[in-house]
């Protein structure tokens, strides 16, 4: 089960062992990581689980669908090349050790 490290907006790092198949959003919210809102509960509806993914892992993640791409354009914090929505990225063996940074506002 992959270990994911979340860096909260204030710089606090929290690492959790996520079940395979869980989304990075679920891992954050269920454990109480600050800064991920996920007001729609993971339906790719709200762009409030915006995360910045460690560049080293970008190529390991599945390509984003058009919907996620459009939502990210409307996210409150600045969109960067490594922006993803946490609800659309799942914990797989390939992301062991992944570090994600959480923007200051959602």
């Amino acid at each position: 089960m992959p270990h994911i490290t979340y860096i909260e907006p204030n710089g606090t790092a929290k690492t959790y062992d996520l079940p395979l198949g869980a989304s990075l959003m679920e891992g954050a919210v269920q454990n109480g990581v600050n800064g991920i809102v996920a007001e729609c509960g993971g339906s790719c509806m709200c762009a409030t689980c915006h995360i910045y993914v460690d560049d080293a892992f970008l190529s390991q993640l599945p390509e984003m669908e058009e919907e996620e791409n459009e939502m990210l354009d409307s996210a409150t914090s600045e969109r960067r090349p490594n922006s993803r929505l946490g609800c659309q990225v799942r914990a797989t063996p390939k992301v062991e050790g992944l570090i994600v940074r959480i923007p200051s506002v959602q």
């Binding site: 079940p19 869980a22 989304s23 679920e26 919210v29 269920q30 454990n31 109480g32 007001e39 729609c40 509960g41 993971g42 339906s43 790719c44 509806m45 709200c46 762009a47 919907e67 459009e70 939502m71 354009d73 409307s74 409150t76």
Partner: protein, 386 residues
């Protein structure tokens, strides 16, 4: 030390507990759920859970550690049966008593049911156990009748059709989702369901005879608010528990939030209950803030969504009263938004597979900014500059 008791552990109840801690509340928090599960999210029950993409674990709001670390006592499987205002306690069906300084009613709503004479074995969908039962039943039947062409009914119909079932939707009105959608969107959803093999019967007569020919009957014909607890305690109710802009009921240390709360909503322009995640979550924050003496009135733009097949509809604001509208996007490709105006003011936007429009719409309506129809219709133009 102050004590908060929250009755109901859906979106509203859980958010209230979380927000209280986030806002620095230091007293005790008891979150009481009548179901046996750790609190979970209901919206996916008719969508991802039914089609097997999500499991119980995916739907939990928080894990057990979270509640322990935040000193939120989650009490599962306790049904609260009475509120005693005089000594500030509530009692459960198993005889337990809980004391409160502040009580938050997040009791939600329950399904409206068809008379037993019409549908004696029908399934309804509200809770996890309803969904599990429905999922099992869907595995072993061929034909399914869905009574009610609203959000829940149509989401179930879509999930069942995707699972290869022969689905018939029976809707008594002359179009789908008529309470919340304009005819043009009802038509888009009708066509999609038909294209995916769903037999949609409008102006339908729902009778025991009509339902007898199906292996399984699922009913989604709306909900009624769970207000009896409040009512029996003498708290004012009228189609829901009446609340002010701080979510206080007629008893000042008793709050009501979410589906069960009847409030004046300026975006709807009337007293109403809203059955949505947004309303439950935002009202929970208002109640928590009031308890923490960080008072602010409820003033959030309502928003809703539904997913059926590849159609994702997001609604911002309340579109029940408008005098003109404008389209944005591509009607043929089912990627468009409808902007509704009343007296030249933007009041609501429905976005079909246009998520960016939806997010922009929420910001525009909240801020009271009205784009011109020309701006709306020019899809190359950004509606919001961040």
């Amino acid at each position: 030390m102050k004590k908060v008791v929250i009755i109901g552990a859906g979106h509203g109840g859980v958010q209230a507990a979380t927000s209280l801690r986030d806002m620095g509340f230091e007293g005790t928090i008891q979150l009481i759920a009548d179901e046996a599960h750790l609190p979970y999210q209901k919206p996916p029950l008719s969508k991802g859970f039914l089609n097997g993409k999500q499991t119980v674990e995916n739907l939990l709001f928080r894990n057990a550690n979270y509640y322990a670390e935040h000193h939120i006592e989650v009490i599962v499987g306790e049904k609260i049966e009475a509120i005693q205002l005089h000594n500030q306690t509530v009692t459960s069906s198993t005889g337990h008593t809980f004391e409160y300084d502040y009580l938050i009613l997040a009791t939600g709503a329950r399904n409206r049911e068809l008379p037993k004479a019409i549908a004696s074995n029908a399934l309804y969908l509200r809770s996890m156990s309803d969904a599990q039962q429905l999922k099992l039943a869907l595995d072993v039947v061929e034909s399914v009748a869905v009574v009610g062409g609203g959000f829940i009914g149509l989401e179930v119909a879509a999930s069942a059709a995707e699972a290869g079932k022969q689905v018939t939707v029976l809707e008594v009105q002359n179009r789908l989702m008529a309470r919340v959608l304009p005819p043009v969107l009802s038509e888009v959803f009708l066509k999609k369901h038909q294209e995916m093999g769903v037999n949609v019967q409008l102006n339908a007569t729902v009778s025991a005879e009509a339902l007898a020919e199906f292996d399984l009957v699922v009913v989604g014909i709306g909900v009624v608010p769970n207000q009896e607890l409040a009512q029996e305690a003498g708290i004012e109710c009228q189609n829901g528990v009446l609340v002010n802009e701080y979510q206080q009921t007629s008893v000042s240390n008793v709050y009501a939030i979410g589906d069960c709360a009847s409030h004046y909503n300026r975006f709807a322009g009337k007293q109403c209950r809203l059955e949505s995640v947004q309303n439950a979550v935002d009202q929970a924050k208002i109640a928590a803030a009031h308890i923490c003496e960080k008072t602010q009135p409820y003033d959030a733009v309502p928003w809703f969504w539904t997913n059926q097949f590849d159609l994702k509809l997001q609604m911002a604001g309340i579109n029940s009263d408008y005098d003109s509208y404008a389209f944005r996007g591509d009607l043929v490709a089912n990627k468009f938004s409808i902007f509704y105006f009343k007296e030249n003011k933007l009041v609501a936007v429905d976005s079909l597979n246009r998520p960016a429009d939806h997010l922009a719409a929420r910001k525009l309506i909240q801020a009271g900014i009205t784009p011109t129809k020309e701006q709306v219709e020019d899809a190359t133009l950004k509606l919001i500059t961040s």
